[in-house]
Symmetry: C2
Subunit: 144 residues, 2 copies
DNA sequence: CGTACGATGTAACATAATTGCATTTAGTGA
DNA sequence: TCACTAAATGCAATTATGTTACATCGTACG
């Protein structure tokens, strides 16, 4: 999602040591303009040099815990991962293609959500909001 | 979510025969004011009389396909199920407690989403929109 | 009746993610 | 430099959730 981000800096800001594997995972997540599944990320990394599937899961968990990466639920069974919102990236909604599983980022302005009233009155603690559109993407629609 | 709904009627409207198991599943889904996981539904049904886990999954799939029940993704690994929006039930956002897994329905007005522009310009086919807040519910927050 | 088809049960399988434990790596002080 | 420690990674097994294949049951209809 970002070529302005320095991945080692993102890690050190999050108080995480910049191991080779962490940087590799973060590069894959960050250099894509759309979120990927753990499997996508693993497969991409394996093409270059070996890494363990579990290591990928663990690094993703760690990055999510430290707010570097965002875990996004889909209309399917696997989570997808993208860079967490930060000064360069506003929170934004996603589109999930129920046919091919491709997930796309939508522009922050495409869907405006007013949650001011909600925040004022909700008795629990709010961590994040997720807005997702499910449907059939342009490509899959054309094929049918 | 609804005591105004006649479950046999919902089934026949969806052109589904009203088998005992379908009615039982739909009662559990419909009589709760919050969405449940397939496991929750199965456990509840098993308390009364025997039903197979797979049957529950199949009935839920069927009801989702026919628009009677809505499949809702959570911040966790399992899907949750609630009555699909209909004349008695507007679409509405949900709150998911990352600690206890409880999912609650929020009022349709609590979060207003303007997607008019998006619908006009998006090149794919839109099936549904999901808005979910993740956080810690009041109960879990008090315990900590 | 009997037959045909939809509904259900059962076991096996598939997928995504997690856990336990062994091994490797990197950093730190003697 | 070496030894020690803690963190990071690898590997195998396990868990959680959901799906498939196929057998059986039940019911509507000729």
């Amino acid at each position: 999602m970002c070529h302005q981000c320095n991945y080692e800096e993102l890690l050190s800001n999050a108080k995480l040591s910049a191991t080779n594997n962490r940087i590799r995972v973060l590069e894959v997540v960050g250099n894509n303009s759309f979120p990927l599944s753990a499997k996508d990320i693993f497969n991409t990394l394996e093409r270059n040099s070996s890494i363990n599937r579990v290591t990928v899961y663990r690094i993703l968990d760690l990055l999510v815990d430290h707010g570097v990466v965002e875990r996004i639920s889909t209309g399917g069974r696997a989570f997808y991962y993208g860079l967490a919102p930060n000064s360069h990236h506003e929170p934004h909604p996603h589109f999930y293609c129920m046919n091919c599983g491709q997930m796309d980022c939508l522009s922050p302005e495409s869907l405006t959500v007013d949650m001011d009233d909600f925040i004022k009155t909700f008795p629990g603690q709010i961590e994040k909001m997720e807005v997702r559109i499910d449907g059939i993407c342009k490509n899959c629609g054309n094929k049918q």
